[in-house]
Assembly symmetry: C2
Homo-oligomer: 420 residues x 2
Amino acid sequence: MKVEKLEGTRDFYPPEMRFRNWLFQKMRYVSELYGYEEFDGPFLEKFDLYAAKSGEELANEQTYVFNTRGENPERIAVRPEMTPTLARMVAAKQNELRKPLRWFTIPNVWRYERAQRGRKREFYQWNIDILGVETMDADAEILAVSIALLASLGLQKGEFVVRLSNRYYLEDLLKRLGVDLSLKEGVYRQIDRIEKLKPEDFRANLQELGLSAETVAQLEQALRERNYQDFGPLKELWERLEDYGIADYVEFDPSIVRGLLYYTGTVFEVWDPTKKFTRAIMGGGRYDGLVEVLGGQPLPAVGTAISDVVLEEMLKQQGKMPKLERELDVFVARYSPNERRQSIAVAQQLRQAGLKVELGVLGNSMDKQLKAANNSGAKFAVIVAPAELERGEVNLKNLQTRAQQTVKLEALVAAIQNEF
Amino acid sequence: MKVEKLEGTRDFYPPEMRFRNWLFQKMRYVSELYGYEEFDGPFLEKFDLYAAKSGEELANEQTYVFNTRGENPERIAVRPEMTPTLARMVAAKQNELRKPLRWFTIPNVWRYERAQRGRKREFYQWNIDILGVETMDADAEILAVSIALLASLGLQKGEFVVRLSNRYYLEDLLKRLGVDLSLKEGVYRQIDRIEKLKPEDFRANLQELGLSAETVAQLEQALRERNYQDFGPLKELWERLEDYGIADYVEFDPSIVRGLLYYTGTVFEVWDPTKKFTRAIMGGGRYDGLVEVLGGQPLPAVGTAISDVVLEEMLKQQGKMPKLERELDVFVARYSPNERRQSIAVAQQLRQAGLKVELGVLGNSMDKQLKAANNSGAKFAVIVAPAELERGEVNLKNLQTRAQQTVKLEALVAAIQNEF
């Protein structure tokens, strides 16, 4: 019976797995350069964990939720994101953990939504967070490490842009314009959609909410001017971005709103400037409230996340996918079934020296084995044949140059290592 | 609101994560030495995939199964094992894939059962399989790579034992003893339990099934004698084990039965000889039928799997857990907020050179930063202070030897690299 994989999921055959390992390796390398330590948590969590962060309804919407069997069924979720697990883990050991916490992780997460370009139901997500720092040092460091990751993948300035705001900038602006703050959420919703709306619709919608035409005009002007110098936290953050030499990567964009329930300061998104990706490719910000929500002491926090699916799409779009071949050092073939034991001994000797060795199928003919050697991706073939064996030798063939030599068994490892 | 993690799951804080990465790294290293390539598949699969392999009832028993929402709900399982995914993937691309396939993976899998020693509901599992080889070459290679993994973790001969049989050995024996083969499954069940049963109960149970006292005595004798020389496939396998020099690790044990539906030749289990683990720590064998069951062409296959939880328990029991410290090269501290920009520049310079750097929280006092440096696990501290900066220098302190020196900024990377 043929069974298909689930919609929106991926199979990682060895070539796809090599890319995934390459990508994860970059994520680990860059995270560790900045002193971040890796962590992980369980793939299934109590649904309550997500409800506590996002509210019952929102948590339920795009999450795989189910009940366990038995007398006391539990409501379980397939993790749709990692930050609730991070906050739960920090809250559970808060006093023992050295602060600031600099943690990263590359979890597998699931979203129950329609699969589309740059989105799958299952994906991996690099998460990086710093907890315990109130100042903009933390916000700037998270931006610096995020940019460093993208740069390490070959994405250059101009190939992505960070659009950044502060959760309270708009509130401050509305106050200054004399807007009734009970209208805040409605106004934010319009600002969040400003790029998608025609200017006349944007204005009409805001006036419908109760803003005067004059106020709307002032608001539009402020959104155009993009002046953060008067807003202390943004001014401070920009100084830090200058310190890191990354201010050029970042634009102040007051239309970046993001989750109001969750973020408590800096909010940012990374975008493809060509807009081939119609959604942000990365998002993050400051969430000083979450650890406390999950039962811990208050603990300031800044973090971000990016999906492997999006990164792969971006690299493909820019023609920057790495060429990753199978890494195999030696293919060992044997002349006849009589050389079975010696072939195995040669393979084991090479492995002892740390070489990656594929042993030809001992039951196959010499022709079939040589063909297999050529298709294996190995750098060398060693052929174990009776005439040479009598002299304590084997044939060593460089599969790239096609050069061939006979080598004493005891000198084989050195001969291969010298040719590398 | 405090939310606990689910029963039978683990949080990987950085120290636990270091162990997990160390273990996975060993698994990858050894697998690749033997020419195996890594793959992975989705964490959720259609329930039918497991039902096709194990039957509806058995697949359901210890698996997290649930229905998706919406008009056309799908029955989904949280993967309890990896082999069905492997077989599905192979069947889907069978003609394109180079044979033999040598694949490994380290999936996260879930079992809905009572959590106990050496068992969790969530664990990782090294799976290694070779597909496309009919002869005992494959069975021997899987045993060799399994033993190589255990050896790479520091487990030596005598600290584990492979108990091995062949699915058809018992059938052959029953035939020779003239036992009606319709009684086979009942007899196997008793043999599987032979170590747990008193001899008189074993005998009584078999006689109840319809075997004569004489047949039972002959059967007991054969099980005691453990003579595999007359059974071709076992004789051939033992020759291969000799070729690999691993026959000493392996015992013929006809009481190893394992899943009758699934295995089609060699079956084996790895056991702790002290029997502190009351279940096998590793199991595997030949399953030539599975790819065909999942809609592919017939393809011979041998494989095995071991859980990370069991390996960790074994290493702890033997006092062989590795000591894994945080890998941090440099902690950068600054004398006063005035040296903020220079501290960041120093940190970035070191990171450019590939050093792992933690930057002290710039808002903190010098005392607090030096304390943080000492607790960070860093090998070096760099202190950025105004007097030295005026001369283009910083203080470099070796945190192990406590030796200190001032170093020109442009010579800092070299000074650190020389001391490594």
